[in-house]
């Protein structure tokens, strides 16, 4: 007798769990506040801030190379970079508070913050 290891109830249960996870993910993503400003840091030190609502294209000086940051339509992304892996350039555009793009070779990070938010910590 051929017996299926997967009952209908099992499939429904698994689908339910996956659906719950997706719903949890989507609500978090939708509820995350949109940021106002991006902070650019090199080696952990802030070098510049740009408002997210003004379109701009700037070349950032990292350690040993450059990354071009483009802000448009309220989102920020790295348009191009001369680092070896170019992972930062492949990263999708960021706009929610806490989102960040990291270029490890150039020790450069671009992080979205809310309005008038103080940095988490200042190392002097």
């Amino acid at each position: 007798m051929e017996r299926s290891p997967l009952k209908k109830a099992d499939i429904l249960l698994i689908a339910g769990i996956l659906l719950a996870a997706v719903v949890l993910f989507c609500t978090q993503w939708l509820l995350a506040p949109r940021g106002e400003t991006v902070v650019v840091s090199v080696n952990g030190e802030e070098i510049a801030r740009y408002p997210l609502h003004t379109a701009v294209s700037v070349t950032l000086e990292g350690v040993g190379g450059q990354n071009r940051l483009v802000i448009e339509n309220g989102t920020a992304h790295i348009e191009e970079a001369d680092c070896p892996d170019k992972l930062c350039a492949q990263h999708t555009a960021i706009s929610h508070v806490g989102d960040s793009i990291v270029c490890l070779p150039h020790r450069l990070t671009v992080t979205v913050i809310g309005s008038g938010e103080a940095p988490d910590a200042v190392v002097s």
Binding site: D10, I14, I17, L18, A21, L24, Q28
Partner: protein, 163 residues
């Protein structure tokens, strides 16, 4: 009673070996908190072929042993809360008799990760924990289902042994 002790010992040894195998060949995909959970195979089988106390003892003793051998003791809190949560969920679901080992184990896998995230609330901020939870739940559910398929095959073959 003697049979019970022997049975527990056998299952604990088996679960411990599975943990060892997983410690040598980690299947982590580079995501912290993700693993196949081979040892959970033994817990699922214990739940189906024996009773809740046996499954609980096997799960608890295995975690204690692993916490002092293959992984740092600081991870004990995480594995305990995950293990307890997972066992309770799997026990309740298997008692309804509506689900097979695949569904039960998949739910157990997801519950394990939920339990771990609850423990992580002690050390991390809620926002960072819960942003990670959906991914862990999906992976836990899928690896749990894989373990469930194996458990299903084994339960069919071991049923006649009257463990």
């Amino acid at each position: 009673m003697t049979k019970r002790i022997a049975r527990c010992g056998l299952l604990i040894a088996l679960a411990f070996v599975f943990s060892y195998i997983e410690a040598i060949f980690p299947f982590s995909l580079g995501i912290p908190g993700v693993k196949l959970g081979l040892a959970n195979l033994v817990v699922v089988i214990a739940l189906y072929l024996t009773d809740l106390p046996t499954a609980a003892v096997v799960s608890a003793v295995r975690m204690l042993l692993v916490g002092f051998t293959f992984s740092p003791p600081s991870t004990l809190l995480f594995s305990f809360s995950g293990g307890v949560f997972s066992l309770v969920v799997m026990w309740l679901l298997s008692r309804t008799r509506r689900f097979g080992p695949v569904g039960v184990s998949a739910a157990g896998g997801a519950a394990h990760n939920i339990g771990q995230c609850i423990a992580a609330l002690y050390v991390l901020t809620p926002a960072s924990v819960f942003s990670y939870l959906p991914l862990l739940m999906i992976v836990g559910c899928l690896t749990g289902a894989v373990i469930g398929f194996a458990a299903d095959l084994l339960v069919q073959r071991l049923k006649s042994l009257k463990l």
